[in-house]
């Protein structure tokens, strides 16, 4: 898929060559999560994407890694990435300032089937911690096309109230939207928190959703495991649950071999998988 390079008009370049992006806003979500707003240097978006897709962010001389795009495609002005500080690259990213430039290539991977399987359905979003990042893209897409979908339930949990990413958006925008229920929980009791306390899987069972829904699940592997168990106990089938996988990626186009599990390349065939598809993969994720 050759495409015209925006920095060198007329030069058809490889998908491995990035574009320059400029950071136009940085939001401190939690002590270790920041959301970066990225624009093309001349304004506007660098590329169009679909909910659930990812992009490679690169700091020259440091490294490059895949991050999910947390803003919705319906946002016409910019793209956002919510990034948790956990390694070398993310540490460096967190030290960036508004106006700094980074390299971006993408979008990569598949997306949540918002225009096909999910259309017209009741949706249940289950997220833990930074797992909200890919789902937020879908949630906003759904809310911006509200009539195409049924009820929306959002269950979001985090270690503490301080670690809830996008709490304000959740409380002031999502919770107030039509036919949307937001459930928030934190792992341990905390002063000033009047909401629910407990792990996400337990809260999921406690609320007890009906099965006339499609669930979109994203979070740490241990949470995914127990949420899936809970969903199955509640009567959900594997075909009703979607999740995203995360593996080490270098090329983003299914060639370098790093994210290969079984016959799938997570960067190209994923990151979004339905649970029956995940089950068909060898247990190496």
């Amino acid at each position: 898929m050759m495409h015209e390079c925006t920095c060198f008009p007329g030069f058809a370049h490889d998908v491995l060559v990035p574009q320059v992006g400029i950071i136009t806003d940085i939001r401190e979500e939690t002590p270790d999560v920041k959301t970066f707003r990225v624009n093309a240097p001349g304004g506007g978006k660098l590329f169009e994407h679909l909910p659930g897709q990812c992009a490679m962010l690169c700091l020259p001389g440091v490294s490059e890694a895949m991050f999910s795009i947390t803003s919705s495609p319906t946002n016409r002005e910019y793209q956002e990435f919510s990034i948790k500080r956990c390694g070398e690259l993310t540490n460096q990213l967190h030290s960036l300032q508004v106006g700094d430039e980074i390299l971006i290539r993408g979008p990569y991977g598949n997306h949540f089937p918002v225009e096909t399987e999910l259309k017209g359905k009741n949706l249940l979003f289950i997220a833990g911690g930074i797992g909200l990042a890919p789902l937020r893209s879908v949630i906003n897409y759904v809310l911006d096309n509200r009539d195409n979908y049924g009820t929306v339930d959002i269950l979001y949990g985090s270690r503490s109230a301080d670690d809830l990413v996008r709490r304000d958006e959740m409380e002031t925008v999502w919770a107030k939207a039509k036919d949307v229920n937001v459930y928030m929980t934190i792992d341990r009791p905390q002063e000033g928190w009047e909401g629910h306390v407990g792990f996400v899987p337990a809260y999921l069972k406690e609320v007890g959703f009906d099965t006339n829904k499609v669930a979109l699940l994203c979070g740490p592997p241990i949470m995914i495991k127990f949420c899936l168990q809970a969903l199955e106990e509640m009567g959900f089938s594997k075909e009703q649950v979607y999740t995203t996988l995360e593996l080490r990626m270098k090329c983003g186009i299914g060639k370098c071999g790093r994210c290969n599990i079984g016959t799938k390349y997570v960067c190209k065939d994923g990151p979004v998988f339905r649970f029956d598809q995940v089950d068909a993969l060898p247990n190496e994720y």
Partner: protein, 341 residues
């Protein structure tokens, strides 16, 4: 069919090199590897197997992708120029030519790897039949005929002559430039040569190697087999098998700070290395058994599942010769063969 006397081969090399770059097996410091021809080099068409495969010519062990400069906080990206001059690679064996078809599946499927595509477009393959197959060869298992290699031009080397047969447009074009050196000839000698090679192939120890337990359907079936646990122990987790392999295509992308810009380059990587899948969040293949399994499952099961049954092994036998621990794909195939019975 054309031919040229063996003693005139240096003239042929020079004639090809006058028009374009010429890569061929060259002996240096005691080992034969593909290298750019120069008048001083020592071409070696008699060694059957180069240590490294000619994969290097189309997919170099290391190549620059782009250079990034930072000037007053502003980044700029200069992509590396694609290969735009023709070149010839001479002496590729049937297995190595087939290996290029394997690489094509990966790099030329969408999204196309343009660096590779440019080299494929610019390159002309002159293959060479295997006069003396080795005991470690098993290309026949993959339906490859080492007496009649694919490629733009196929050649056969006898005691006195190199026989030359163009097989494609590119091959005909190359031949057209070399008419002063090549004389037309009959097919008889080559036919005899082929018969001779086929007779040797009948005596190869690995000629019975069967892939009946492999292929797309093995993707799930063989994954959980306890055989992997028995097999992997001697593996040193080095990358010898990967780097001598003509079809292994995994790569890494890295930065190099030259002091006047950051070069982003890609280089071969090995799924046998412990850090291959390591990321900040952890490693999804933590044991050598898993990494070992990945390499062979990929070649013998995942690849055929993704590409119409094509195996990503061509039976060149380099890994059989080179593994420091004498572990190799043949042993893996055979171990599952026993299990299947």
């Amino acid at each position: 069919m054309f031919r040229i006397q063996r003693e005139n081969l240096p003239g042929l090399y020079a004639a090809i090199a006058a028009e374009s770059d010429l890569f061929l097996p060259v002996k240096a410091a005691g080992k034969t590897n593909y290298a750019l021809w120069s008048p001083e080099c020592q071409p070696d068409l008699d060694t059957l197997k180069t240590v490294k495969s000619p994969k290097d010519v189309f997919f170099p062990q290391s190549e620059n992708l782009y250079t990034c400069q930072r000037d007053a906080g502003k980044l700029s990206v200069t992509p590396e120029k694609h290969r735009d001059t023709p070149f010839v690679v001479l002496g590729m064996k049937a297995c190595d030519v087939r290996a290029v078809a394997v690489l094509d599946k990966v790099f030329l499927s969408a999204p196309v790897d343009t660096y590779y595509a440019a080299r494929r477009e610019m390159g002309t393959i002159v293959s060479l039949a295997c006069g003396k197959p080795e005991a470690s060869c098993f290309c026949g298992t993959f339906g490859i005929d080492c007496a009649a290699p694919e490629g733009d031009v196929a050649t056969w080397l006898t005691e006195d002559f190199l026989y030359w047969n163009p097989q494609s447009e590119k091959g005909t074009a190359l031949t057209g430039k070399l008419t002063a050196l090549l004389e037309p000839c009959g097919e008889e000698t080559v036919a005899r040569e082929k018969d001779g090679i086929h007779a040797i192939c009948q005596r190869l120890p690995l000629k019975e190697l069967s892939l009946s337990n492999w292929g797309a359907e093995a993707a799930r079936k063989n994954f959980d087999s306890p055989i992997w646990e028995e097999l992997y122990h001697p593996c040193l987790a080095c990358g010898t098998c990967t780097f001598v392999c003509p079809t292994c295509q995994c790569y890494d992308i890295k930065d190099f700070d030259t002091g006047s810009g950051v070069q982003r380059y890609r280089c071969w990587d090995s799924c046998m290395y412990s850090d291959f899948t390591m990321m900040a969040a952890g490693n999804n293949r933590t044991s050598q058994m898993q990494r070992f399994r990945q390499r062979f499952m990929h070649k013998l099961a995942y690849f055929p599942a993704n590409y119409d049954g094509m195996f990503s092994c061509v039976g060149c036998g380099r890994c059989v010769d080179k593994c420091p621990s004498h572990l190799n794909i043949v042993k893996v195939i055979k171990a599952f063969e026993k299990e299947g019975k």
